[in-house]
Structure formats: structure tokens, C-alpha cells
């Protein structure tokens, strides 16, 4: 199986999930826009959350694209290297596609309902609008790539672990996650600084995300290259 075939095959895996996701998003936007127009009249309204929900969606996508593709590649005499190259290119394509779709959706909402769109993609602190859109696009692409890679790393890690290992890691990860969430309240000012830092420095943060992505992908490859098939 060539890398191009692997790319097409793995890209297909995302297709139905992405379509369903955008149908839901469009429905939510339409309903809330309608309700807002009826209740507020011609006053301005804000729509938040598309980027955040996309990040979670893409993270979950990353967690669901390993096992089936891995076994399928092995069945058709393909290598782990082809699988990884195919996944990386398909993941990048999905991230880029979703970034562009989000941008289009926000511009469409802005055009149709005259919403100023409180989305952070426009909140980037750059005066020049095209440059702001470009930096926002690059920033979200890098962010999506980071999260899809993180999801992939988690699922690969879990695939390699045995049953006991899965329990231990799940409990530890869950515990750490809960502790982190509870601790965030105490460090609210720092959290705010971290959250708003990308808006002021999208290019720097994009670079940082890419470095983290590269590190995560390196771990992914280290785990995949000798991965045994569990069937």
C-alpha cells in the first residue's frame, strides 16, 4: 500500500465524523442566531466556542484513528512507517480543512447575521484584518495538530499497555486531571495569562505548539515502529 493510498484511506475515516460535527455546529448556530434575533432584535450578538469545541472534537478524532487503520495496514502487507506517514498527512489535512471551515463559518455568520463574532480567531490583537485572519488560521491549525497528535499518542500508549497498565494509567491520568482542574482556581491569574497570551503572540505560540507536536509525534513513532498487532 502506498502512502497516498494510506492517506486517502485514513482521511476517509474522518469524513462522516467531520460532516456530523459541522451539521451539529450549523444547527446550533442557526438556532441560537434565530433565538437571539427574535429576542434581541437587531442588536449585536456574540457567538463563542467554535474553536474550543473543534479542539475537543479533533482530540477525540485523534484518539479514534489508530487500531482499525493499524490492523488494516498489516492485513494488506503494509508497514508501520506507511501507516504513520499516511496518518500524519491525513491528520494535517483534516486540521487544515477544519481551520478553513471554521474561518468560513465565522465569516458566513458575520455576513448573514452581522454578528461581530466574539470568536477568538478575530480577537487576535493584530490591526490588519487579513493578517489577523492569516495568523488566526495558522495558530488554530497548529493548535489542532497538537491536539490530534496528543489524542493519537494517548490511544497508541493505551494500545501498547496491558490490562493492568491501562487501569493504572487511567486512574493516574484521571486523578491528575481532576487535581489540575481543582488547582486551576488558585492560579487564576496565571491561567488567564496563558489563555490570552496566544491572542497577543499568535506566531510565537504557533511555533511553540509545533515544537510540542513534533515531540509528541516522535513519541508516537517510537511506540508505533515496533508495535505488535493485538488480535
Amino acid at each position: 500500500m502506498s502512502t497516498a493510498t494510506s492517506f486517502r484511506l485514513q482521511l476517509k475515516e474522518y469524513r462522516s465524523a467531520v460532516i456530523i460535527y459541522y451539521i451539529i455546529i450549523v444547527l446550533i448556530f442557526t438556532v441560537f442566531s434565530g433565538v437571539s434575533l427574535l429576542s434581541i432584535g437587531d442588536k449585536q450578538m456574540n457567538i463563542y466556542g467554535l474553536e474550543a469545541s473543534s479542539v475537543w472534537f479533533i482530540f477525540v478524532c485523534g484518539m479514534n484513528t489508530f487500531r482499525a487503520n493499524f490492523l488494516f495496514h498489516l492485513q494488506f502487507s503494509s508497514t508501520r512507517k506507511t501507516l504513520f506517514k499516511g496518518w500524519l498527512s491525513s491528520a494535517a489535512a483534516v486540521c487544515l480543512g477544519m481551520t478553513c471551515l471554521n474561518l468560513l463559518l465565522l465569516l458566513l455568520m458575520n455576513f448573514l447575521f452581522h454578528t461581530p463574532v466574539g470568536s477568538t480567531i478575530f480577537a487576535i490583537e493584530i490591526e490588519n484584518v487579513p493578517l489577523r485572519l492569516l495568523s488566526g488560521t495558522v495558530y488554530y491549525f497548529c493548535e489542532y495538530l497538537l491536539f490530534i497528535s496528543l489524542g493519537y499518542l494517548i490511544t497508541i500508549g493505551f494500545y501498547r499497555l496491558n490490562k493492568t497498565g491501562k487501569w493504572i494509567v487511567s486512574i493516574l491520568m484521571g486523578g491528575c486531571g481532576m487535581y489540575l482542574l481543582l488547582s486551576l482556581v488558585r492560579y487564576e491569574s496565571y491561567v488567564d495569562a496563558i489563555v490570552f497570551f496566544p491572542l497577543a503572540h499568535p506566531w510565537i505560540v504557533s511555533g511553540i505548539y509545533l515544537v510540542f507536536t513534533a515531540v509528541i509525534l516522535s513519541f508516537c513513532w517510537l511506540l508505533i515502529r515496533k508495535m505488535p498487532a493485538k488480535v
Binding site: 482499525a68 498489516l74 502487507s77 508497514t79 515502529r225 515496533k226
Partner: protein, 283 residues
């Protein structure tokens, strides 16, 4: 083309599934991979197809390491009960195979599907166990790769489909000879097909030789119980069966001076296999 295993060892925890296995497969030949449950047959096949890596030793194809070697792996097609074909329909799988394997004969595969009465628009997971085996079998028979590994290919197939499968296997092999490694417990059914026999026992290669040579190591005599018992005294009897007043005994060694009252026939592979790997003593 030559596929060789060199001192292949694979462990699962404390269990040694394969212990320093050495063997070579060369095309064209139909080989039987026989062994009791847990002998290491599937592990060997999974190692030779890159599903798992050996703990020790290596596998080479024409002197080149097989691990993550896409070009070499393309020369092998492996089907097993656990083959993963996703949610694809039979038709889509056939189309995909045509793109993935250059020698795959799509027309032949479709013709086979028709003969097996396989519904092409059904998704692989929704097929019955028997028809899943049918689909795997027709994909394998049409792949025309130099090496074809079949792990329990007739699992769940009815008698008619099994007969048809063996017939098509011979047809396909005659048209395009390749190295077919057939792993099965139904020794009686495949006995006539095999040119070479590999018997694994407790992770080791016990036998690796031609079926003809293997079966010439013994013979069967049948006749009246008393006459058979008389003839068998002092000989190595590896199995016997009595029905009414008649008895059949399988004997290892060359047959000499058999009385006219006794019938002599060839040894069956199953009898020999049971004797070689069975834990029970021969009667």
C-alpha cells in the same frame, strides 16, 4: 524467491511460543503447517507477516530482512480468522485488493464469488462465519502473491464450500504456482493437496519434509484380528482400529513379507501426525 526463518524465538511472558525455529519456504509448493493447539502455528504465521516481532532470530526474504520491508511484504498475503477488513463490503474489498496487489485477478475473484454465491454488497462484519471464510479464501486465491499463508481457511464453511475451496485452490495453484502454506487441523481433508509437511510441536519444528517421503515411513495392514496381531508382533505399531472381527494397524518401517490374507495400504498423514505429536501412547 525464498522466505527463511533463522533461529526464530518468540515468547509471551513466560510462555515460549516458538523456540529457535529454522525453516525455509520456496515457491512453488503447497505446504501443510500442522500442529496441536498452542504448538505455535499462528505465532509463526504472524511473525512471517510482520504482525509481531521475534524476541530472537530473524526472517529473511532472499537474504533481506523482512521486518518493515514493504517490498518483501507485498510478496505475501495472509488470511486468518482474525483478518481485519474494517467495515468494507465484499465488492469494495475486491476493488481495494486490485489496487493493493499488482497480480490480483479481479475477474477471477468475482467469478469465485459467484461460484460460492457470496453477496458482494454485504459488509464484511455482517457476513456469517462461513461466508467470512469464503470472502477471505477468494481474496487469497485471487491475490497471486508468491507466498500465500492460509490459517484455518475453511473455518465455518459447510462441506460443499470446503470441497469447492480445495478444488479452486488446486485450480489457482495450477494456473499460477506459488508457495501456499496451509495451517489447519483438518488433516484428512488437505492430505491429498500437500507436497510438503511442516509439523510444529511445543514451539519447535518436529518435521519438515515432503509428504511423500513422510508417508513412506510406514504402512497399514488390515485383516482378521488374530492375523493382524500375529503380523504386528515385534513391529512398531503406531495406531490400530478394530471393527467387528477386522483390525487395521498402522506400522512404522518398511513392509516385508506380508501374508496374502492381509491388505496393505499407505499410511495416512493424520495417523502419523497423531503418533508424532500425541501425548497418548499408541495401542
Amino acid at each position: 524467491m525464498k522466505l527463511c526463518c533463522h533461529d526464530l524465538t518468540r515468547k509471551f511472558g513466560d510462555t515460549v511460543a516458538l523456540n529457535r525455529v529454522n525453516l525455509c519456504l520456496e515457491e512453488p509448493k503447497i505446504c501443510g503447517l500442522l500442529g496441536r493447539n498452542g504448538a505455535g502455528k499462528t505465532t509463526l504465521l504472524r511473525l512471517m507477516t510482520n504482525y509481531i516481532q521475534p524476541n530472537e532470530g530473524s526472517i529473511t526474504m532472499d537474504e533481506r530482512n523482512l521486518w518493515e520491508n514493504e517490498k518483501a511484504l507485498q510478496q505475501i498475503f495472509f488470511v486468518t480468522e482474525n483478518s481485519y477488513f474494517g467495515e468494507m463490503t465484499a465488492q469494495k474489498l475486491i476493488d481495494f485488493m486490485a489496487g493493493a496487489y499488482p497480480n490480483f485477478d479481479k475477474e477471477q475473484c468475482l467469478a469465485y464469488a459467484k461460484r460460492f454465491e457470496l453477496s458482494l454488497n454485504k459488509k464484511y462484519p455482517t457476513l456469517s462465519t462461513g461466508y467470512k471464510s469464503v470472502l477471505r479464501a477468494i481474496l487469497a486465491l485471487s491475490a497471486h502473491t508468491p507466498f500465500l499463508f492460509l490459517d484455518e481457511p475453511t473455518l465455518g464453511m459447510d462441506a460443499f464450500h470446503r470441497e469447492l475451496f480445495y478444488k479452486l485452490l488446486i485450480e489457482s495453484y495450477s494456473e499460477a504456482p506459488s508457495c501456499i502454506l496451509l495451517s489447519t487441523h483438518l488433516i484428512g481433508e488437505v492430505e491429498g493437496l500437500l507436497e510438503n509437511v511442516i509439523i510444529l510441536d511445543h514451539g519447535k519444528v518436529l518435521i519438515d519434509e515432503s509428504a511423500e517421503k513422510l508417508l513412506s515411513q510406514g504402512y497399514c495392514v488390515s485383516g482378521r484380528i488374530s492375523e493382524v496381531d500375529d503380523y504386528c508382533s515385534g513391529k512398531k505399531v503406531i495406531g490400530s482400529n478394530s471393527v467387528g472381527g477386522l483390525k487395521t494397524a498402522a506400522i512404522l518401517g518398511e513392509h516385508t513379507a506380508v501374508p496374502d490374507t492381509l491388505d496393505v495400504t499407505g499410511l495416512s498423514l493424520q495417523q502419523l501426525f497423531v503418533q508424532l505429536v500425541g501425548s497418548e501412547n499408541p495401542s
